[in-house]
Point group: C2
Chain length 108, copies 2
């Protein structure tokens, strides 16, 4: 039983949890920070910066990319990644909505 029973929760609940899961590993937190500071950078830059292997970084990038948080274009042989700021804001808003709703319930 390592798989979560997603069907017993509503859409919003699963969404919040899915978003949180993207940030639930420090490598991905650090990668996003690093990319934002460069405005744009390539996989091997991230490998040098974070200190994990290239294949691990690529896996983490896939999680982030699948979450819609990256935009990437080829620059020569490299993919140049930058943040999808709109998506970032969307996630932030969903989180704040959850946090605010939960707190406000409590203060009535």
């Amino acid at each position: 039983m390592g798989a979560s029973k997603l069907d017993i929760y509503n859409e919003e609940t699963n969404t919040i949890a899915a978003i949180a899961k993207v940030f639930a590993h420090p490598a991905r937190v650090a990668i996003l920070q690093f990319i934002s500071k460069q405005d744009a950078c390539i996989c091997n830059d991230i490998v040098d910066e974070i200190g994990l292997s290239q294949s691990t970084i690529s896996q983490h990038l896939k999680v982030i990319n699948d979450a819609g948080l990256l935009k990437g274009d080829f620059k020569g042989k490299s993919i140049c990644y930058c943040l999808n700021v709109d998506r970032f804001k969307t996630f932030q808003n969903l989180f704040n909505s959850y946090f605010n709703t939960t707190q406000n319930n409590c203060c009535t």
Copy 2:
């Protein structure tokens, strides 16, 4: 290699990831919402509401409690849980700080 290498990241990075991990399972997201609506409730109420077994709920409650998000006092044989709203706000602020910093880096 299932364990994350936490020593290669800085304190803030690990903190954000640790907070996100608390919310990275829908049961915990739902439990917090449910508790907030009741203002206070007991383990078996949560079992009934969420639909997982008592032992599973207890495990999820432990994760939430270890994160400092709950206050609990005995009411008879039951523990009556309510939200630690201050801690909630702290987490929210840390998240927003991370989100805002990362986005602002990008918009320079």
